[in-house]
């Protein structure tokens, strides 16, 4: 295990539950690199997880406080936590694409509307892969999956003329970015900005699923070749010189379907107030005797905290 792992994660999580070649660890690593880069410690972050592949990778992995939500409800739990916790504590949520853009989308929109200070990391593997590879709301059009054996005819949130981040932007999210799990420094930098934003931030990561998406939709078992297909999702020119076997993957699903830009999508950090802070200030006007002490201290840490 590397130094980053030893510093922030529990040793029982190695080896992780992800398949060989799954990109979830890459997403996890980038989040940890951003936390490390900001100098945050184990005690500064509360880590929430959804379910599915993304939730299982990060479930109970953070050495500090962490919690697991039911499918799509982790934002609702985090909203409650945000109102209870002091604002110095960061809330990081790692969820999957079905969790965020499917069953949990409405919870997500309401967190964005309230601009609650939390960082949502959406690890997107183009479908419901932990349950056997059914199509989801971000599956490429035309993809053959277990539940679309003749090719997907439905339009997902990442369709040719749709973008789910547009909805979140309209709902009031103050920081949005999209990356590939293979992106290096730019993705870590954007994660740092997302963590620093005193409001709702979401970073959408697309990562390779080799077991279901790779083997069924791309009909390929060679992991580095699947990785190359994912690299060409944001860079259609990639892989011109990689020969016939790679062309076969591109013919199966055209990686140019996304037509979306990678990197920073929307940055309005600090432009809207965080509802949890407004709520705390509002309740303090009714109960001046219980207003928060002026000097920063640990909430509920013994004498003096409560009258």
């Amino acid at each position: 295990m590397d130094g980053l792992f030893q510093k922030y994660l529990r040793p029982k999580k190695i080896p992780s539950t992800a398949c060989s070649g799954c990109g979830l660890g890459q997403v996890h690593k980038r989040v940890l690199l951003a936390i490390d880069g900001l100098g945050l410690g184990v005690q500064d972050v509360i880590w929430g997880t959804g379910i599915g592949c993304a939730g299982r990778q990060t479930f109970n992995a953070w050495k500090g406080d962490n919690f697991a939500g039911t499918h799509g409800r982790v934002y609702a739990l985090a909203a409650g936590l945000r109102m209870a916790l002091p604002k110095e504590k960061k809330i990081v949520l790692t969820v999957g694409d079905g969790d965020a853009f499917g069953i949990g989308l409405k919870h997500l929109l309401h967190c964005a509307r309230r601009n609650l200070d939390m960082t949502v990391i959406v690890a997107d593997n183009f479908g419901y892969q932990s349950t056997g590879g059914q199509f989801g709301l971000t599956t490429p059009p035309g993809a053959v999956t277990d539940s679309s054996p003749y090719g997907l005819s439905e339009t997902g949130w990442l369709g040719p003329d749709l973008d789910v981040l547009e909805i979140l932007k309209a709902a009031g999210a103050t920081f949005l970015a999209r990356h590939l799990s293979l992106d290096g420094k730019p993705s870590v930098d954007n994660l740092k900005l997302a963590l620093l934003n005193p409001g709702f931030s979401l970073v959408h990561f697309i990562f390779p699923c080799v077991t279901h998406f790779g083997a069924v939709s791309l009909a390929e078992r060679d992991k580095p070749l699947i990785l190359s297909w994912f690299k060409s999702v944001f860079n259609p020119a990639y892989g011109q010189d990689r020969g016939e076997s790679f062309q076969k993957l591109k013919d199966r699903i055209n990686p140019g379907f996304l037509k979306l830009k990678r990197g920073l999508y929307h940055d309005a950090s600090g432009s809207r107030p965080d509802y949890s802070e407004l709520l705390k200030a509002w309740t303090d006007t009714f109960r001046p005797d219980r207003a928060a002490p002026k000097e920063p201290g640990r909430a509920g840490s013994g004498e003096g905290a409560e009258p």
Binding site: D2, P15, S20, L24, H28, K29
Partner: protein, 73 residues
């Protein structure tokens, strides 16, 4: 002037995906001969002297099992 780097590979944590072999620009890794307890075949660091210290393998490794560090002179 030449900097040297050491690459530590956690044999038991590796899942043998082969991304580091694919990514390394200097071909530092070779496919490994042995299986670990989980049944995967981790690569071996065959040519550590060719390492540039770019950390591409660290960034691409999904299993927290690679560490690239500069060897002090």
């Amino acid at each position: 002037m030449d900097e040297t780097f050491s690459i530590e590979l956690d044999f038991e944590a590796c899942k043998g995906c082969g991304y580091c072999l694919e990514t390394c620009p200097e071909n530092v890794f070779d496919p490994g001969p042995e299986h670990n307890a989980k049944g995967y075949r981790p690569p071996v660091v065959a040519r550590p002297n060719s390492c540039l210290g770019c950390r591409s393998c660290f960034m691409v490794c999904p299993d927290f099992c690679l560490e690239v560090s500069r060897v002090p002179d």
